[in-house]
Symmetry: C2
Subunit: 277 residues, 2 copies
Amino acid sequence: MSQTQRYKLTIAYRGTAYHGWQKQFANEFYKGPPPTGGLEGIPTIQELLTIAIRGVVNHPINLVGSSRTDAGVHAKGQVAHFDTHMTQIPPFGMQRAINARLPDDIDVRSIEPVPDTFDAILSTVSKRYHYLIWNDFRKPVHSPDLAWHWFHKLDIPAMQAAALHLTGTHDFASFAKAGHGRESTVRTVYSLDISHRSPRIVFGIEGSGFLWNMVRIIVGTLVQVGMGRYTPDDIRHMREQHDRNAAGNTAPAHGLYLQWIRHELGVANAPFADTNE
Amino acid sequence: MSQTQRYKLTIAYRGTAYHGWQKQFANEFYKGPPPTGGLEGIPTIQELLTIAIRGVVNHPINLVGSSRTDAGVHAKGQVAHFDTHMTQIPPFGMQRAINARLPDDIDVRSIEPVPDTFDAILSTVSKRYHYLIWNDFRKPVHSPDLAWHWFHKLDIPAMQAAALHLTGTHDFASFAKAGHGRESTVRTVYSLDISHRSPRIVFGIEGSGFLWNMVRIIVGTLVQVGMGRYTPDDIRHMREQHDRNAAGNTAPAHGLYLQWIRHELGVANAPFADTNE
């Protein structure tokens, strides 16, 4: 009866009020100062979820999240796992009990038992992020924290042409924040599509894994293409420099959404199984 | 050169962080305790707008708003007016300068010069409110403050049938919060439509004017119809009682949006020109 069961959680949250999924400076790879300084005392999503789950299963747990989303970043499909011997609670009942202990801006969307070979980080095979821009003269007053407000008109065909240089398997070192701590900066971007339905512009990006701030640097740089500061061809050149200083600005956190994460049971893709953004 | 010009403003805001358009207990009609107590020190939208406008026109102003929206209520088209002798600033420049002094969740959508006969309160001829319900088992994590989350399935045809008893010219005393301070509780509701596109249910209500909490009491009561607690016919009976105790619950403030207000220049509709909700 002391057998443990592993559970996979899918979680949605608004990142506005939190210090990210977990405190970035507690990251074993990162040696610098807190990247989102001055937020002491603000909880992380991982902390609140851990407290809620402990309250239900009645013993300490270790909650492992797939993506360490930064402060302000939102999720529609974050994935995490934990182990428990409280296997008599049906998953749906456990989900309801955990959600009852969470604030309004965090919700467990599903819980399912998985084999021990499942690992939220190591079993990751692909991820999708969306980045939302509110492209209008008028401010998005009802959701200032849910989209990046950009006043000026953007040349979307130019951004789409530039995006083609950022799909495929490449060394994305130019699009990674320093301190990412990864041995390899090679990643595969399966698709990078930009759709426009005024006033919203949505960047959808899918890949094997992402370096720290990679989606935000890609979006910030593509917006500079949309403003005419860079040409689509400049983007290929930036990518080939393998130097963060070659690329453009970092888009702010509050437009970014972690949409979903695909896992394969028992697959450990160590080099690509990173957890940043 | 000391001639003054009246300006009409159309304003959008998220009500979450504010103590309503103005402090309700400063209302000349209302004699009771503060209706949204414990919010001392939280600014009102009127206060922040007044400070922003004063900073631009460089003299004290009196900002008159059409609707005294309660704490937590949102607006897409609130209307207000003020007078100034700083007529050399073009309206568009004034709008930009005011918006630059406002927080992200308040935005002046337009400014136009109007004759002195225009009055944001007295010239009102009709208003439209929307009430948004997020009708899903899953929480609206990205916008908990922008919709009322209702878990249970609602019988929408029953609510639509009940709504028919709340359109037309009636004494709506049963659907007004005590302390409304109005001499007449007769109002005309031109339309009350309920649309459903899962998970959203939107109540759209248009009328000559509304009593205090009238839209929220109507929505709260119709939700009880949707749950089978009342029949559509009960609603007619409630309306005929002219007694707040006869009607159902008050829906929470954070699902309510003031959509627009129509004015007619120089028309003073005193009995219907109320400013509540």
